[in-house]
């Protein structure tokens, strides 16, 4: 039985945010929605400060609070470890969002008609259309209209489905084809790794055996599938130095 996990190497992460961009392009997420998010944190008091970057995808917890609280079973955990959202069943109550300790959930506050409004891009502009060859709006991977997995549910990509929840899917539509998630594939320094931890010979299993690793918020008992190597969990005085775009 496969069980997927991700490893984040904090010694390698340099805060370029290529993973954040790749996720956004691959999954077509709306403004201010960051399925993959990278904290830029400062700890300590000047002059003894330390700056770190902390990539935060969905943790795909093995004891996921979001799965427990979903009233209609739209949020579910697959046997292969992926925690996914069925966009066709979700009723938009946002309970998964308040239950998640990691803050990885995003709600579709707008519908597809004006999903691009916050970016302020005039897609009907003639000059723009000439440059993009008429691709309006940004290209959407047709895989996102498919049903995935043995359960055959609508679970990949952001469809900008108004009033429905979404979050990182570990790129289920890519993983099913034997590809890596977009963030893992794009990282220029190999800080992200992904694979099957049930297979003891897989690169990720070997890596985890050879390196000390921790999980975020371990004490909560959520048992995440994302393991962090090469650093320490954020201290309680850690604070964000940069805030992302928040306008929806």
């Amino acid at each position: 039985m496969t069980r997927y996990a991700m490893v984040v190497d904090l010694d390698r992460c340099q805060g370029c945010r290529a993973c954040v961009e790749a996720c956004k392009v691959e999954n077509n997420t709306p403004s201010a929605v960051f399925w993959m998010y990278v904290f830029r944190l400062e700890e300590g008091e000047f002059p003894d400060t330390k700056m770190t970057f902390l990539p935060r995808p969905c943790q795909h917890c093995n004891n996921a609070p979001c799965v427990k609280v979903c009233p209609v079973g739209a949020r579910f955990k697959r046997e292969d470890g992926l925690v996914l959202t069925d966009f066709a069943r979700c009723i938009g109550c946002r309970y998964c969002e308040v239950a998640c300790p990691y803050g990885v959930n995003y709600f579709n506050w707008r519908g597809p008609e004006d999903a691009w409004a916050p970016y302020g891009i005039p897609f009907d502009d003639a000059d723009l259309a000439a440059v993009t060859g008429g691709a309006v709006p940004a290209y959407k991977n047709p895989d996102h209209d498919l049903l995935h997995g043995p359960e055959q549910r609508l679970t990949s990509g952001s469809g900008h489905y108004k009033g429905v929840m979404e979050k990182c899917t570990f790129c289920v539509h890519r993983v099913e084809q034997g590809l890596m998630p977009a963030c893992v594939d794009t990282c220029p320094v190999g800080a992200l790794k992904f694979g099957d931890v049930e297979d003891e010979q897989s690169p990720i299993s070997t890596f985890l055996r050879n390196h000390e690793h921790f999980q975020l918020l371990e004490e909560l008992g959520t048992d995440p599938s994302v393991h962090y190597v090469g650093g320490t969990p954020p201290r309680s005085d850690a604070r964000e130095i940069e805030r992302p775009l928040t306008g929806v």
Partner: protein, 429 residues
């Protein structure tokens, strides 16, 4: 009195008759409802972006806001109605018989509004109406809220309201009026015999006995919605469920006092709802307020003695920071009435005017406390190092909430013109 009205062959308590004041009231409420519908339409059309809510965490907002605060508040108000009605039957509290029906009506209306408040908060409300009945999972605390609270509790209260209204319907059915057929149908063959009354008492007694545990479970499950979330330090805890039940009682009894004071004047039934009724309600409210104050003290003390970093952030925001004004105003609105009620109880001088003011005050305090339950734990106290968030309700949210309260006013106003809101006296007591 009832006997006189029947002898004079006109429906009592203004039933079936419109007055100018009533028309003005209903018109104003209709305007409020229309505003609410417009607001809800905007939210449905544009998406929930029309509200002030935003994702918590990286988006720096609060994803449950005014609507969820109102859900908790309204379901809380519904508590008292049926509790008082049940207590009246269970303990044969003669002095309160006059408020029993308006208490039951209050429960039904508050539950309907609470359910409506959930619906307006959903991103896909129409889908929810199907999916909740098709797929709902018992492991989610929302299952209890939806299946027990909205369906079970509401239906049980409707049954209760109906069964206790049959005797009055039978009396009214004897008066020729436009509504006579309705009352015959409503009474459903009720015969006012001594035997029937004994059976009535027995049924309503057992029904009350069945409803009371149901409502404890229902309100606790609403507390569990928050209390079981380990990811939200301000919510996680064992006190949520009991505190919910107690504050529910406070807001409900407060509402009932205000309603009783207004309606007894409006329908001319001051003799049915006397000072001793208000004294009982006042004492009940006082006890609930004492218990709730105790809960607040325990909660505040626990969160400031040796808090985790996250809890400290939340309690600082509530006690001295951004939310402090809401907190202290709400505390004052709850504690000062408790003191005044104690003074009234000790001196045995109950003044209805004061009680109405206190009833309004405790509801203001309850709304404030419900708001503080929901929002600060979303904007502050994140377990991951996100920055502090912010939330303030948008005009659309205020409009929808206005619509909800207007709907409640219309339902109560409509009911009292169809049926006496104060129980008619038994002719042969």
């Amino acid at each position: 009195m009832a006997t006189q009205d029947i002898m004079s062959r006109s429906l009592p308590q203004g039933v079936g008759r419109w007055s100018r004041g009533w028309l003005a009231f209903m018109t104003a409420s209709s305007v409020g409802l229309v505003i609410g519908i417009i607001g809800w339409w905007m939210e449905h059309d544009q998406g929930m972006v029309a509200t002030g809510m935003r994702d918590l965490g990286s988006m720096g907002g609060a994803t449950w806001g005014l609507y969820i605060s109102m859900v908790v508040y309204l379901v809380g108000v519904s508590f008292a109605g049926i509790t008082v009605a049940a207590l009246i039957r269970l303990f044969d509290l003669e002095q309160l018989k006059g408020v029993a029906r308006m208490a039951e009506v209050l429960t039904v209306v508050a539950l309907l509004l609470g359910a409506a408040a959930i619906v307006v908060d959903l991103g896909q409300p129409l889908r929810a109406l199907v999916n909740l009945f098709r797929y709902a999972r018992p492991q989610s605390p929302f299952f209890g809220t939806f299946s027990l609270v909205v369906s079970g509790y509401l239906f049980a209260s409707l049954v209760y309201l109906y069964l206790t209204s049959r005797p009055d319907a039978a009396r009214l059915a004897r008066i020729p009026s436009r509504l006579q057929t309705l009352y015959r149908w409503w009474a459903a063959g009720y015969q006012d015999t001594a035997d029937q009354r004994v059976r009535d008492r027995r049924t309503t007694f057992w029904l009350a006995l069945a409803i009371l545990p149901l409502l404890i479970v229902a309100h606790s499950s609403l507390g569990f919605v928050f209390g079981l979330q380990v990811g939200r330090p301000g919510w996680f805890g064992t006190l949520q469920a009991p505190a919910f039940v107690v504050l529910a009682g406070v807001s409900g009894v407060g509402h009932l006092i205000v309603l009783a004071a207004i309606l007894r004047k409006v329908v001319g039934q001051e003799h049915r709802i006397g000072l001793d009724a208000f004294a009982w309600l006042g004492r009940f409210l006082m006890l609930l307020l004492f218990v709730y104050t105790y809960f607040v003290v325990v909660e505040v003390f626990t969160t400031i003695y040796q808090p985790t970093v996250a809890e400290q952030q939340i309690s600082e925001a509530i006690l001295t920071g951004r939310y402090a004004w809401i907190f202290w105003v709400s505390i004052a609105a709850l504690v000062i009435p408790a003191v005044i009620l104690a003074q009234m109880a000790l001196t045995k001088r109950w003044r209805i005017g004061w009680l109405v003011a206190l009833g309004i005050s405790v509801n203001v305090g309850a709304i404030g406390k419900r708001y503080l339950i929901v929002i600060p734990s979303e904007t502050h106290g994140q377990l991951m190092p996100y920055g502090v968030g912010s939330y303030s309700p948008s005009l659309v949210e205020y409009a929808v909430v206005l619509g909800l309260f207007s709907l409640g006013a219309l339902l109560i106003g409509g009911f009292m013109k169809l049926f006496p809101i104060v129980e008619m006296e038994e002719e042969n007591s």
